[in-house]
């Protein structure tokens, strides 16, 4: 399929600086669903939502949102941006996303992130100073829960587990593909490389040199750990654009949103910031050219997500941006395909992971009969067959 294109959101409730209007939580939640459906409609491959547990965000309980969207879409991959591996119990992540796999027939992957501010950690009994350690231990447990049954586990950050089996088991015995996201923590690039997982750089708000440095480290370590060549590592990038047919219209319309944006507002000028970071405000052609230039410093990569619904932009504008995204999508696909070196892999999907694993497997543990040690699913057992046929 070549490169994947999509969008990601963090679910912020932000006042539109041009009108003073602030959406209600209900409006913002419904808007998120509209945006995801529109993303599928214009032909995008991925919709990812963030996770936050504090105002001004509506991004708590991401699996409910993704399952709801999954029920109203057919093809789009549902992902996260990011799943808070630091403060969320890995046992719950294992259960929730395996369930989501079943409900959406495997249209799920995840992006792990630490993505919390200091005050959030204590609400979940954690300490931000342990952020990296939490990300590392929790993820190690999560993987174990997806790949093994009857898990005995003891660690530093949660109560021990004995003989625990996370349910439901991952769909077809194949855990969702995992990306690890980090702006500037080399330890997370190392983690992604060690496991042969994907690495995603958010690539917004910060200079491209950050993305370049992190991706280079990830690729080197991916090869170091024997998962393939540096070119075969699985890389994703974020990005941010505002597009209008006429470049100057885009600048004029976006400027008040930029100037008042929660992240960079009241700081550098739009012009300085578009030069210093990958933000592109301009015509469709400008967005195409800038996006194609990303591969010059991260190499051929597998997934490009853009952040479109932020800074108080109204839903109508976001949907227009998605229409324009859809219009440049065929060009983006064909141009990236032309530039791509041979041998660069596609981003893993449920289908490709299942194929790699040698086909679907049922890894479920079915209730065993304490007396005989048999289960009613072991049809190769003559006693079970007899029981099912009513002979015993």
């Amino acid at each position: 399929m070549g490169m994947q294109f999509g969008i990601f959101t963090v679910g912020d409730v932000t006042t539109d600086p041009t009108t003073g209007a602030t959406p209600t939580e209900h409006e913002r939640i419904k808007a998120t669903v509209e945006i995801a459906k529109k993303a599928e409609e214009v032909g995008l491959d991925v919709f990812a939502t963030g996770e936050h547990h504090n105002p001004p965000f509506i991004a708590s309980n991401p699996t409910a949102t993704l399952a709801y969207i999954g029920a109203q879409t057919e093809n789009i991959i549902l992902s996260t941006s990011t799943t808070l591996i630091t403060t969320t119990d890995p046992v719950l992540i294992a259960e929730d996303y395996a369930k989501l796999q079943h409900l959406t027939d495997g249209r799920v992957d995840l992006m792990m992130g630490r993505g919390n501010t200091g005050p959030v950690y204590p609400w979940f009994g954690k300490d931000i100073r342990q952020g990296i350690n939490l990300a590392i231990e929790n993820y190690a447990l999560l993987r174990q829960l997806w790949t093994e049954t009857n898990v005995d586990w003891k660690g530093r950050f949660r109560t021990p587990l004995q003989g625990y089996t996370s349910t439901p088991r991952p769909l077809d015995g194949v855990a969702p593909f995992v990306w690890h996201g980090s702006i500037r923590s080399p330890e997370i690039a190392e983690q992604a490389a060690f496991y042969g997982d994907g690495f995603f750089h958010n690539h917004i708000f910060w200079p491209a040199s950050h993305s370049e440095q992190m991706v280079r480290l990830y690729r080197q370590r991916f090869a170091h750990y024997g998962h393939g060549t540096e070119e075969q590592a699985i890389v994703g990038l974020g990005g941010q654009f505002f597009m209008r047919k006429n470049s100057q219209d885009a600048v004029n319309e976006f400027r008040p949103y930029f100037d008042n944006a929660p992240v960079y507002g009241h700081g550098p000028s739009l012009e300085d910031f578009t030069e210093a970071t990958p933000l592109t405000v301009g015509s469709p052609q400008q967005v195409i050219e800038r996006t194609l230039s990303f591969r010059e410093y991260v190499g051929d990569y597998q997934r490009q997500l853009f952040l479109l619904d932020h800074a108080g932009l109204p839903l109508k504008t976001v949907l227009e941006q998605l229409d324009l995204y859809g219009e440049i999508l065929p060009t983006l696909r064909s141009e990236f395909e032309k530039l791509r070196a041979p041998g660069v892999p596609d981003a893993p999907t449920h289908a490709s992971l299942m194929q790699k694993a040698g086909g679907p497997k049922d890894t479920a543990v079915y209730g065993a009969d304490d007396a005989t040690g048999t289960t009613d699913r072991r049809l190769d057992d003559p006693d079970v067959t007899k029981a099912l046929e009513g002979e015993l």
Partner: protein
Amino acid sequence: MGLNTLDHAKRIVVVSAGLSVPSSTRLLADMLAEASERAVEARGVEVEVQHVELRGLAHALTDNLLTGFPSQELAAAIDAVRHADGVIAVTPVFSASYSGLFKTFFDVLELGVLDAKPVLLGATAGTARHSLVIDHALRPLFAYLHAIVVPTGVFAATEDFAATGAGAGGDLHKRVERAAGEFAGLVAGATSVATAAAPRRLVEDEFEHPTDFADLLKRASDGPPEY
């Protein structure tokens, strides 16, 4: 002098936060820099001096606070400090302390950049009533940053710049020479005074020599249970 002209030369970076042009802060910074250069060279060690004037970086510093990353020009200044063998830091006194501009520069430095780095402190003010500012405001800041601050800090009030004070044999001149001598001893010293404690590991170090994942995993679980 360019940074790459002398690989073996010691590098001194002078950070000054004066606002007017020319400012008495820059004047004091120049005196400290020249005296330090002479004192290091007197020990038979070559030295390069680079100036970082914060006035020209004022907007970039505010932007860095808001966006979390430095502009190219500011990044170059931060890099210069990171690679310096010694730093001379001079601020005007504003409201009984260092100026906000001065503090902002040290606020955006990654923790660890000044670890075990020799630092010579200077301050200027309109009146001598602020003469303890180096001891009650600047020293605590640089103690927190784990710099090695030389015993003599140089405070100069306007009156110190009068010919009798700043000229050869004047009081200010004497203090400058003494401070520069102490600073030069640390900068030119063959061995670091602070090898006992390893400097903190910076992000750049981690990129250059990543910690093996096995060690990250071990470190993660190393410690008493936290649940």
